[in-house]
């Protein structure tokens, strides 16, 4: 009874620990390479930045039992058609601004962040912007002066003034429009877009 059985010995578990860790990590690296290659801007799941020139919707597909982004005809942003590079620059400005203004510590982006303000994943498609025609202008005005264009839905929670310039506001809107076209595996579920109500 003095012999320690293999399954209870230190060296056995040491080897297991090393192999399990190394194995899991190798699988993660392989999956990472695959996932990143399938989600570059311009892939099927994550459209090219020039998608901001198009009409975007998010529709429930009964067969898949989830909603999917639907990319339609031309629908220029701020009345301008952007080349892929121009679009990338504008989205980049917007994305960077969402970081430097710390949006994520009130809002969620793709569902991650803080829970004090609504999710931004499909903000471009939200019915809160009333109609497709009014949307762009409302958004610019709101972002530049949220206190006086407050959209509190009866909650008294107002977004603060974050000193967002007009160019930054346009960038943010381009970023939101591009993000709304990403295939998020059906999150959020059963979302009714601004297009659906018209």
């Amino acid at each position: 009874m003095n012999e320690t059985p293999l399954w209870a010995s230190e060296s056995f578990w040491k080897k297991i620990a090393i192999w399990v860790t190394a194995g899991s990590f190798v699988i993660l690296v392989i999956l990472t390479m695959d996932s990143l290659s399938k989600t570059g801007a311009g892939s099927k799941r994550v459209p090219a930045y020039a998608v901001i020139n198009k009409k975007i919707d998010y529709q429930f597909k009964t067969a898949l039992h989830k909603s999917m982004p639907v990319i339609g005809d031309n629908e220029f942003l701020f009345g301008k058609e952007y080349s892929e590079e121009e679009a990338r620059q504008l989205v980049d400005l917007g994305k960077k601004t969402t970081q430097t203004k710390n949006c994520m510590n009130c809002h969620t982006i793709l569902g991650n962040g803080a829970y004090y303000a609504p999710d931004l994943t499909k903000a471009w498609l939200d019915q809160g912007w009333i109609s497709g025609e009014m949307r762009e202008n409302m958004m610019v005005k709101f972002l530049m002066d949220p206190a006086n264009n407050a959209r509190t839905f009866g909650s008294n929670r107002k977004m603060p003034n974050l000193a967002i310039t007009e160019q930054e506001a346009k960038g943010i809107i381009a970023f939101l429009k591009w993000m709304s076209s990403i295939d998020t595996n059906g999150f959020p579920y059963n979302f009714k877009t601004i297009e659906a109500q018209e």
Partner: protein, 505 residues
């Protein structure tokens, strides 16, 4: 300003400094701790612990401000907005826990390797550099807050990415300090002797520091950016931090209870295998909805569902050992917090994590107060508790190795601090859970997650009541913290009985 004004200011500020110095001296005399009870490595460790406690206080304070804003949105509006308070709340948490871990490791490696810390001078410089950097980062958070949408803002103000907001200059500084720390650990074990605990510790630290680098880059593609961001957050708290805590626990169980080395080391390897085996691919539970391929729904769901298993193993290990040794220990508060850790880790991470980790459920709970409920119980239960346990070990030594078990004076203080802190966090967790269910139902399931749906859920009386309860229990948490600090400063004062040495059995 003319020079005569200046002439008036200098003596005035001198007088103020003198006054501050007298207060500090009075405070030190009252606390009456003798640092000659500590080795030089331990003296460094307690510096880390001191800053950790101060940042813990900052965490709770700014959490309270943010919680008040949920009820009175006008509170500090455009002065300290919610995003600023929340950022300080969670950053202070990450940083105080890292300070606690670093301090614990400096503390235990001397004992574990059997020699003094190698490169202590560098370690001390690194401490002051890190603390200076943290102070500067917090001041910028509070007084500059945000910047224009340019790279310079990411470099000098904040990176705007939850949990790792620190600007890039600080990222580089933190990495440099971590390299010094890493050098200390490796060189100390190399000079003294290696052990199973030492080996796991070093490999884990390589992973921990390496992962931090994954979070330093800016990307336009939000899907890729969040992919790497989770490498830091998830692979820290659900892999490398868990293992680090396993190391600290293994060492503490030997010290507190006299458990045999062979037993704790075997358990440590089992924990590493189970934790990394489930936690590394469990990362996938954050990839369900960020644009990543569908296979993550299966991979993430499956492996993350296994993550509670190592946490069960850890509870069994700690409680079994405590039972075998009949809870005989010379430090009651430390053992109590170790037990709180084992259960907190199991419930906060294991149970609360499991409840929303399958994609079919996460579809509705994702990004609601449900996550916050889990976040509070897990970070507190898994990591705040073990750090507090270590604070008690440290203070015992600092007092000169006095008795802190049965019949110790003023034991009500640590007991009440333990009770209030745990009751406070559990209370907040339950309040947030109720709010989370309500949000999942009204906002996600019924309203389809529109902005209107979001606010409909926020305006529900049951949600608002939950926010009130959260604030109340936050206050209880804060009260427990204040009592904890008082106890840490006074416990063992005037105690003359020394601890007998513990033999491993």
């Amino acid at each position: 300003m003319n020079t005569s004004d200046l002439n008036g200011i200098i003596p005035k500020s001198n007088r103020l400094l003198d006054k501050a110095r007298t207060y500090l001296d009075d405070f030190k005399a009252w606390v009456n701790l003798d640092s000659s009870n500590l080795s030089t490595g331990q003296q460094l460790a307690v510096k880390y612990f001191t800053v950790a406690v101060i940042l813990f206080f900052a965490q709770l304070l700014f959490g309270m401000l943010a919680a008040i804003q949920f009820i009175y949105p006008g509170f500090l509006y455009e002065i300290l907005d919610f995003n600023v308070n929340r950022m300080v709340h969670i950053n202070a948490m990450i940083v105080w826990m890292l300070y606690g871990f670093i301090g614990s490791i400096y503390w235990l490696i001397e004992d574990e390797s059997g020699t003094g810390i190698v490169g202590l001078k560098w370690a001390n410089i690194a401490f002051w550099v890190l603390t200076g950097a943290v102070t500067l980062v917090v001041l910028v958070y509070l007084f500059i807050q945000i910047g224009p949408g340019k790279d310079s803002s990411l470099w000098f103000i904040n990176e705007g990415r939850e949990y790792i907001e620190a600007p890039r200059w600080a990222d580089l500084g933190i990495t440099a300090v971590m390299l010094v720390f890493f050098y200390n650990v490796v060189a100390t074990f190399s000079k003294g002797q290696w052990s199973g605990i030492g080996g796991v510790l070093v490999l884990d630290l390589i992973a921990l520091v390496g992962l931090y680098l994954a979070g330093m880059f800016y990307m336009t593609n939000i899907t890729h950016e969040q992919y790497w961001w989770w490498w830091v957050i998830h692979l820290w708290v659900e892999a490398t931090w868990e293992v680090l805590v396993g190391v600290i626990m293994a060492w503490s169980l030997m010290k507190l209870l006299g458990v045999r080395r062979k037993i704790v080391q075997t358990w440590l390897y089992i924990e590493v295998a189970l934790m990394f085996g489930s936690g590394i691919l469990g990362l996938g539970h954050h990839y369900f909805w960020i644009g990543m391929p569908e296979y993550w729904l299966s991979v993430g769901g499956f492996f993350s569902a296994l993550e509670p298993i190592p946490l069960v193993a850890m509870v069994v290990h700690a409680v079994y050992d405590a039972g075998v040794h009949a809870f005989k220990t010379v430090n009651h508060p430390a053992l109590a917090w170790v037990v709180a850790h084992a259960f907190g880790n199991f419930f906060g991470a294991g149970v609360w994590g499991f409840m929303h980790t399958l994609p079919q459920i996460n579809m509705y709970t994702h990004g609601t107060q449900w996550s916050a409920s889990h976040g509070h119980l897990s970070f507190f239960g898994a990591y705040a508790t073990i750090n507090i346990a270590f604070f008690y070990l440290a203070i015992q030594q600092w007092r000169g190795g006095v008795w802190m078990a049965a019949g110790a004076h003023h034991a009500w203080r640590w007991k009440w601090a333990l009770g209030l802190l745990n009751a406070g966090v559990v209370g907040m967790t339950i309040a947030l859970l109720i709010a989370g269910y309500e949000q999942s139902f009204i906002e996600r399931a019924v309203e389809g997650s529109t902005w209107g749906g979001y606010f409909a859920a926020q305006n529900e009386p049951s949600f608002q009541r939950a926010m009130g309860w959260r604030l109340l229990f936050g206050g209880i948490t804060l009260a427990g913290f204040i009592l904890l600090v008082w106890d840490l400063l006074t416990i063992g004062k005037g105690e003359t009985r020394k601890i007998p040495t513990i033999n491993q059995s």
